[in-house]
């Protein structure tokens, strides 16, 4: 496979052709999404299926973050509906949310015993450290794919500092960052 440095805006765009392919793709994101579904959503939608470009993905993720509800759940509703209407939205939602719920309920029954085992605890701790890297690495990919202009980099960095370092409430961060980002982008695009 080619590396991500080709100009992905010119990459060919595909669309899901059958309900089955749509469902299986969202199911994959849901069932492999250990430590967060978003890295898997990016991988499946952008790299594997080529249903979106890197830039489209990050712009849609931004919309999903300011709408209420879990980001990836919102994303599955929007994409399912965009490609295949209400049935598509329900199929995507089932794959990414309801099937994993059944899995987590099965896990919950045995969780207490597994959590006692030191071996399992060590494996989980190490995998959690790697899962954090999965999200950080995905952020790097999004950054390279979206190539924000300088004022965008400032906004992104400010949001990061406010949320991760200052621990400001997200709603307040968004209430300031969203209008500011739109104003800056509006000026820059004139």
């Amino acid at each position: 496979m080619v590396d991500g440095d080709v100009d992905e805006r010119s990459a060919p765009r595909e669309v899901p052709r059958t309900y089955a392919v749509l469902f299986v793709s969202f199911l994959k994101m849901g069932l492999l999404g250990f430590g967060g579904v978003m890295p898997w959503a990016r991988r499946v939608l952008v790299d594997e299926r080529r249903w979106m470009t890197e830039r489209e993905f990050v712009e849609l993720l931004g919309m999903c973050q300011i709408l209420p509800g879990p980001n990836v759940v919102n994303m599955s509703v929007i994409l399912g509906a965009r490609w295949m209407g209400v049935a598509g939205a329900l199929l995507a939602l089932t794959g990414i949310l309801f099937v994993p719920v059944v899995v987590v309920l099965m896990m919950a029954a045995s969780y207490a015993t597994v959590a006692q085992s030191e071996l399992a605890r060590n494996a989980i701790a190490a995998a959690s450290a790697a899962a954090a890297g999965l999200i950080l690495g995905t952020a790097l990919r999004l950054l390279r794919g979206a190539r924000p202009p300088p004022h965008g980099l400032v906004v992104g960095a400010a949001v990061f500092v406010a949320v991760a370092i200052v621990h400001a409430p997200l709603l307040w961060v968004l209430a300031v960052a969203v209008p500011a980002a739109i104003a800056l982008e509006w000026r820059a695009s004139r």
Binding site: V58, P68, L134, L171
Partner: protein, 177 residues
């Protein structure tokens, strides 16, 4: 396990009334869910709540599934599905109607500007969540090394993340991290 209908109804309206406030996802509302299920209703202890949260992080699927587990704890399988649908249903419906209007709009300048403006915010938030998880997970130098290695592998190669996670779990089992 069969749950009395009034408990299911109560889960439905308590969780459902929070759905449209979940800007930034369910995790942004965890203190509120804690207040309802532990302090207000006494459906579980604070320690049980924390265990369910940890399990939701650990399990495959969206981290929002913590609400499914809360529902399960209160009212079994039916509770899990009622809680999931109540917490995600209203926000999903809003998303569906808002975005189908949005996507029907002609590709106007305001639409393009707003989408471009939100992209760096999205990236900043993803970075922040990765950073927060790393701070919680990296309690040793070896764990930090795993985070850095995974970041580089995912950021700069096309390696399948399954192998990255599996390798890290093996390192953990071997006692190195």
């Amino acid at each position: 396990m069969t749950a009395p209908p009034d408990v299911l109804l109560e889960i439905a309206w308590r969780f459902g009334s929070l759905s449209l406030l979940a800007v930034g996802g369910i995790n942004a509302l965890l203190p509120e869910f804690h207040r309802v299920v532990v302090d207000l209703k006494g459906w579980m202890t604070s320690a049980e709540f924390a265990d369910l949260f940890a399990l939701a992080q650990l399990a495959p699927g969206p981290n929002a599934m913590v609400v499914s587990l809360l529902g399960w704890k209160v009212a079994g399988i039916a509770g899990a599905f009622v809680a999931t649908i109540a917490a995600c249903g209203p926000s999903s419906l809003l998303c569906y109607f808002a975005m189908s209007r949005w996507e029907r709009m002609q590709s106007s300048r305001p639409r393009a500007v707003i989408q471009r403006a939100l992209a760096p915010i999205a990236i900043g938030l993803v970075l922040a969540s990765g950073f927060t998880l790393a701070r919680a997970a990296d309690r040793s130098v070896a764990a930090l090394a795993l985070t850095v290695a995974a970041t580089l592998a995912i950021g700069f190669t096309r390696v399948n993340p399954v192998w990255v996670l599996a390798l890290a779990a093996l390192v953990g089992i071997s006692g190195l991290a």
